[in-house]
Amino acid sequence: MPETRAASLRIVDGFRLEKPRRDALMPGGALRDQDGRTRQLPRYFYEVESWNTAVEYELAPHFHLWEFIHVDVRESAALRFFPRYVPCAVLLTAAMLERFREAVGEPVRIAANGGYRSPQHELTSHASTHCWASAVNIYRIGDEYLDTRERIERYAEIAREALPGAWIRPAGEDRGFSDDHLHLDFGYVVAVPHDAPGDPFNPKLEGDPL
């Protein structure tokens, strides 16, 4: 099997985690988006043993794991201690961000609470793509803080060209807009790596759309 960059991170089935973490992560659970549609949460997670692991672990040439799991006291208490868990899609998100970083030619900084957030995080509302680890809030690029409409829109334009299909939150002060960061996301991405545990095949469920 070809080795992925995250090959040394253990993949865990969220269903098999102990209850407090399972309740907070809601593996395979459902969240409703703003339009009332159900979105299914990821079930498989990379296990991060320590902060040192997160700091040292390179997901892409210019992005380390810690940047995607840096949360504050608003995260569920069950998830603020190591080992921590992050949906496997984080690897794809880092790869996409690397493309964006190449396009801007400057360091791209993800805000605290701006990577993966659990469904129980106090800032989570509806089916936030942060719960899929497929969204990032970028607060700074090079020396520029993205706290003006002009800067946010300038980098949003670069993101649209570099990342076809990415969704970018429009700049503005009202609800649903952002005025102090650039929000990029890649939708409700669920990644199941080849070596994810999974369930045995059950022929009775073959053909069941769910």
Partner: protein, 299 residues
């Protein structure tokens, strides 16, 4: 200027003899200063004596309200919702208490650049609490208030039965200010609040001492401590905007128990001698409680 209320000697086992003279000195200092209003509240922990000079008059609280926010933050620590080492996202975006519209703390109006330098990252609750008090960081204040909520501050004020403390919004919320939503304090309110901490009645002796340690690290020393002898330590919080200048704290002199004092002043926008007036009153109080003239630290 309002005529000061009567000296309260009810709880005083050994009232310093010259408090009446002290009142007169405060009045002379206040009159000469040109201040629109001066209020002083004093509680001597040794004798129980209290002096109240217009001490129930409401003033714009300026940064003195940060002590009430500190108390509320430690209330959340006491309840287990927060820990001093809990991390908080440093984000310069807040919602006005008037209409929920967003506003920011201007970096060039904030005395503390360290918190601004951490935007996008996290800082510990204990670090933010220290910045809120020691360098009066407005950004740290709003971050902590945003985290715990105004209702937590009000709950704390109610829990301890504090009157004379009215926290209704974060700092630099210009829209709320323009619509009359103002944080207010009285000298008596601040003294009652500081007594909770100084007498270790705020949650637990340990948490009270932690708050006191933070207040001891105050970096603005032109008010209460300015003319006191060098060996005197003061745990305090200043408040200074264009029309008010305040200082409130606990004064620890050698060989005597501490006293708690709040000196609040209101001025025309371009008035000078604000801090010197507070320092002069503080010096008078110190001498009166000590019973002899002291050598100020700028002598």
């Amino acid at each position: 200027m309002t005529i000061p209320s009567a000296l309260n000697r009810d709880r005083a086992p050994s009232v310093p003899s010259d408090l009446d003279a002290l009142r007169q000195r405060i009045e002379v200092t206040a009159r000469k200063s040109g201040a629109r209003a001066v209020a002083v509240a004093l509680h001597d922990i040794e004798s129980g004596a209290e002096l109240q000079y217009d001490a129930d008059r409401w003033f714009h609280g300026a940064s003195t309200i940060k002590v009430a926010i500190l108390l509320a933050v430690y209330g959340e620590i006491d309840r287990g919702r927060l820990a001093p080492q809990s991390r908080l996202h440093v984000r310069n975006r807040f919602l006005s208490a008037y209409d929920g519209s967003p506003f920011r703390v201007l970096a060039d109006r904030d005395a503390d650049s360290e918190v601004h330098a951490a935007i996008g990252k996290t800082m510990r609750i204990s670090e933010l609490a220290l910045h809120m008090i020691a360098t009066s960081s407005n950004l740290a204040t709003n971050l902590l208030l945003d985290l715990i909520g105004l209702e937590s501050v009000q709950r704390t004020i109610d829990q301890f039965g504090l009157t004379g403390i009215d926290v209704r919004r974060g700092v630099e919320d210009e829209k709320a200010y323009e619509h009359g939503i103002v944080n207010r304090v009285t000298a008596n309110g601040l003294v009652a609040l500081l007594r909770l901490i100084a007498e270790e009645r705020a949650y637990s002796p340990e948490l009270s001492r932690e708050m006191l340690d933070i207040l001891h690290q105050q970096e603005f020393k032109k008010g209460i401590p300015a003319r006191l002898p060098r060996e005197v330590r003061v745990a305090h919080k200043t408040g200074d905007i264009s029309t008010v200048a305040h200082d409130a704290g606990v004064v620890y002199a050698p060989v005597r128990p501490p006293y708690v004092i709040a000196i609040l002043t209101e001025w025309a926008a371009d008035a000078g001698s604000r801090s010197p007036t507070i320092a002069a009153i503080s010096h008078s109080v110190y001498d009166a409680l000590r019973g002899a003239p002291s050598v100020p630290n700028d002598a």
